[in-house]
């Protein structure tokens, strides 16, 4: 039984989220990269910088998403030089969409582009498999997103503050991690607004525990060497 094929293409099982709030956007992702059933990287960074004010969340094939974001970063850099001012989120998202659509037969990657520019403010664009572009107040992607559609329908509201948006994103990613085997590790968030970019990191043991989840232990040895419980006495 060959259940562990280390030559499988690297895929990021993933949960990725992008949420707009009053004044900017918050992007969030888990950190698990898997090769088949083996976790190749338990602390990967799936939120990649395209420009100073635009970031992209990557999901799907690790190689494809890395190459697409490298190309878009390069094109955006040229565009910024030619334009003479920072690129808008819409342009960045459309460059991503052009690559994704024109190479749809060969690529297998879903992306969420988010950022802030002075014309439109905070914007989130989803570019799923196939290369559609869809501007949304919030976007979710990756295998773990299946578990979040209902959650967001209920929990998302217009005009949140930065703190509310960030805690919503962290809560959502941790819910997805709890239920999706292909998502795990830590939660990374990137907040982009007029003041700039803030990156945050939430280690696994700081995340809230959900139904039937066991608290994190530093080492199995702690559990094993714990004293055996006292015998019950009537």
């Amino acid at each position: 039984m060959d259940c562990l094929n280390l030559n499988e293409p690297h895929s990021m099982g993933t949960t990725i989220i992008g949420v707009t709030y009053d004044g900017g956007v918050v992007l969030g992702a888990d950190s698990r990269t898997s090769t088949g059933v083996y976790v190749a990287n338990r602390a990967s960074d799936k939120i990649t910088q395209l420009t100073d004010n635009v970031y992209v969340c990557r999901s799907g094939s690790a190689a494809d998403s890395q190459i697409v974001s490298d190309y878009v970063r390069y094109f955006l850099h040229q565009h910024t030089i030619q334009l003479g001012q920072p690129a808008t989120v819409k342009v960045a998202a459309n460059l991503v969409r052009l690559l994704a659509y024109n190479n749809k037969n060969m690529l297998q990657t879903g992306l969420i582009v988010g950022g802030w520019d002075k014309y439109e403010g905070g914007k989130i664009y989803g570019v799923p498999l196939g290369g559609t572009i869809l501007e949304q107040p919030f976007a979710i992607g990756g295998s773990g997103s299946s578990y979040l559609y209902g959650f967001f329908d209920q929990a998302w509201k217009e005009g949140m503050t930065k703190e509310e948006a960030e805690s919503l994103v962290v809560k959502a990613v941790s819910l997805a991690i709890a239920r999706d085997g292909a998502s795990g590790g830590v939660v990374r968030t990137v907040t982009i607004n007029a003041d700039g970019v803030t990156k945050n990191f939430y280690p696994g043991d700081t995340l809230p525990l959900w139904h039937e989840e066991i608290p994190a232990q530093n080492s199995l040895l702690d559990i094993l060497s714990a004293p055996s419980p006292e015998p019950m006495s009537m």
Binding site: P9, T33, T35, S44, A62, A63
Partner: protein
Amino acid sequence: MSKAAVDLPPKGGFSFDLCKRNDMLAKQGLSGPSFRKTGTTIVGLIFQDGVILGADTRATEGPIVCDKNCEKIHYMAPNIYCCGAGTAADTEAVTDMVSSQLQLHRYHTGRESRVITALTLLKKHLFNYQGYVSAALVLGGVDCTGPHLHTIYPHGSTDTLPFATMGSGSLAAMAMFESKYKEGLSRDEGIQLVVEAICSGIFNDLGSGSNVDVCVITKGHKEYLRNHLLPNPRTYVNEKGYTFPKKIEVLMTKITPLKERVEIIETGDAMEE
């Protein structure tokens, strides 16, 4: 019959001429040669002053060990080395190619090569071949921006990590790293941990074996410790030694030196116009 008027230069790309022949042979029942893989355990970790890379030394052809002491830590630049797992030909070819490209780049720029340059060149090449170049690499080095360690997968994705393992023995080695790695290891602690991880691969993975190679790279200095540890020595040696069964008579001896012996005669007069 006259040749064509213009001799076209050979076009690049793969030549499919022999595929029909191979198909015909396969139909007749001839199974093709299996390719040499380096089953492998390769590891890398970042320590206080730089990067330590480690590898086992077994190369396999299917179930047979074809090389008991091969070198899996390849030179890329004076300050960058790369361990390779997967098809041996692919790892050798891709690391050689990028090593040459890096040298040309050094001549162009006049600067020491950076690890990220090697990473981008390798990643581009492997992505272009969509995973068919079966090379899984652990790239490590120290440049002007500091120590770096990356893993590169056959499909072209890369990860940047403080400690990494690849190859069939990667799970055994990663188990050692996950329990014992901490930041700011000293040189000896780092080498000890790398050796433990490789040994874990050698003894628990069938595709890895023989000896441990280690390479320590720090700012401005590198040490390639070939066969740093030999945990699988050949213990039984037949006292009779190896002799030919029947008496062999030497008829003629001819020695051809592989390098020409050049004798310098006294220099003549300087050339005059």
